[in-house]
Symmetry: C2
Subunit: 413 residues, 2 copies
Amino acid sequence: MALIVQKYGGTSVGNIERIRNVARRVGKTSGAGNQVVVVLSAMSGETNKLVGLTQEAAEFPLGREYDVVISTGEQVTVGLLAIILNEMGYRAKSFLGHQVPIVTDSQFGSARIESIGTDKMAEELKKGSIVVVAGFQGMDGQGNITTLGRGGSDTTAVALAAALKADLCEIYTDVEGVYTTDPNICSDARKLKKVSYDEMLEMASLGAKVLQTRSVEFAKKYEIPVMVRSSFTDAEGTLVCKEDSEMEKVVVSGITYNKSEAKISVLRVPDRPGIAAKLFRPLTEDGINVDMIVQNISHDAHTDLTFTVSNSDYKKALKLIKEKTAAEIGAEEVVGDPNIAKVSIVGAGMRSHAGIASQMFEVLAKEGINIQMISTSEIKISCVIDVKYTELAVRVLHESFGLGNNEVVEEKE
Amino acid sequence: MALIVQKYGGTSVGNIERIRNVARRVGKTSGAGNQVVVVLSAMSGETNKLVGLTQEAAEFPLGREYDVVISTGEQVTVGLLAIILNEMGYRAKSFLGHQVPIVTDSQFGSARIESIGTDKMAEELKKGSIVVVAGFQGMDGQGNITTLGRGGSDTTAVALAAALKADLCEIYTDVEGVYTTDPNICSDARKLKKVSYDEMLEMASLGAKVLQTRSVEFAKKYEIPVMVRSSFTDAEGTLVCKEDSEMEKVVVSGITYNKSEAKISVLRVPDRPGIAAKLFRPLTEDGINVDMIVQNISHDAHTDLTFTVSNSDYKKALKLIKEKTAAEIGAEEVVGDPNIAKVSIVGAGMRSHAGIASQMFEVLAKEGINIQMISTSEIKISCVIDVKYTELAVRVLHESFGLGNNEVVEEKE
């Protein structure tokens, strides 16, 4: 008997018929003698609808109340799945974030999990019940409802798997696994059988929408094997796990892109110690995550700083910098550009292979694509480019690093 | 400085523009130096949509999970109102049932309030905050989410007013007050300035949709004056309060009707002691409320029992009686009829006036309307008739008891 955590995303629970389909899968796993904890997202489109309401209500909705509104989507789906499972003859009980409890900090809209109480879930599992937990939500120390940020249900699933010492965490989504790149852009994109936590981490943070970054961090930290698979087929998925020697042979595992960031440049800042801190501290305090940061060498004791934030934070960040921070640090001008994309190559094998970066830059140059920012890690290289070149860049990089080829046949899809 | 509880119904919070309108009213009351507690329903249509989802999920959705789903509507509106109030510069904080806490019993779908914790609300009011509470929902002793049944937000409002010892409870709705009958049926229906708790209680329980019965019971018990008024106009509403001498002069205050009940007859039951208990106990245990009950004298030691339940419980009740209870009590046949209506006349003055019942029966007979069941209380007489005669019956009764007349002018509407 194994303890399995299964997470189903928004499209997998998009309507009652699909939730019934989820119930059948869950029932099958339970019927095979496993203990099952299910984590659900909101019905697809529902969270967007709720976010839309809050934005119609106010330009900058108060975080605490924003979370009260947008956490309702998951509450609906867990109740519905529990209803269906009970109707099918299983014992099943839904748990909201505050009922588990999943205790988080008080950073509304992007709270982090601090602890998970497992007693009540364990008690239900012991009784033979299927435990159905609302993803994406928690409760802070004062009893306020919090949410974990977009894709937070993945994090809920992996965190529950870690807390319950589960044998496996399955993430059911609308794709069959992790691909070498977006199949909508490259028709010959290939499904990966295995990918390391680190590679997945880079892919997730770079915009491959399969798994939320923090869920992979959790999985890595607690060494939870995570299987990403489709809720609509029985195809084997992609296993996200510890790096092994086989993986190291592959130089580049995948090409990812992210169109949901925007760029802000703070120009001609007097180059004094502490400038960067003064610039980024207020953003952090407002809960705005900064992704890439580039500062080049200075001229005439002045420097330019450029960074990217997510599109949803762009207006707020730009307003803050323009109206407040710019004057404090003596910047002459602040310019923003939301029309950018980040294209990246990721691979554990990069550590031991030279020339990968040059190859990437040459491929882009050959197509006349200008690189606006560059950032690198041990196993990835990212370039910010004009958003209109995104698909072109992904295609030429995918081909140049030999990711498409004939292995498609081998995967029998 | 007064403490005022204001409740806004579904149509009053039907979209963001209307919630903004509610925020302005709330702000005005707060700005005038009052402490304000606001109770909200779900957006109009939202609860029906959620109920529809649960019914699509299962024929008999499990009560605990049903409540998890349908309590989300109010969670959305309280978050949105708090967002708007904060944007307008007020301090405002939303509270869900479990956050107040509003503790109820565990009768899912129609839970009763057992206690209300006022500490957290009092603390916020003291800080100058507007407290925004989700109507209709509570939490039982085990931390499960419960709901109070249709119209439960009225009960939440009056119960909060009682617990907080409020000076006034205002129920904002889409009508301007309590009328002598449904203005959609009688164009000369008149708005009442005042109505006693008892009259309102009969009207509410008989289907006048202005206030939920239990909310009036609460108001009567704790002597909370309740003002029913429109959120769309500034017209004065109807005050529900203690009976006074002026009220007693009016023989019949209003004509009400209810189309949302169904009739079930259990035929030729051996007439033994305990039969009624055996018949109704299982219904109660399943949370089905029985309204009217009629048992006539028996023939050949057999009797017929007829009762009404709400339409939403009809299928469930009929199934239970047919498949289980009928055999146990030896009934020969069970027949049901959902096509009925209950038409009633209500008035505190009935206590001291004779002949009111006769007048009612005569008026109906004159129109050829057959009376299927009769039930009376001190201040009301109800008749069950074929649903198709509802409007006709209401109109002729309204006219016969002189409710329309020229007072319409006096009310200046």
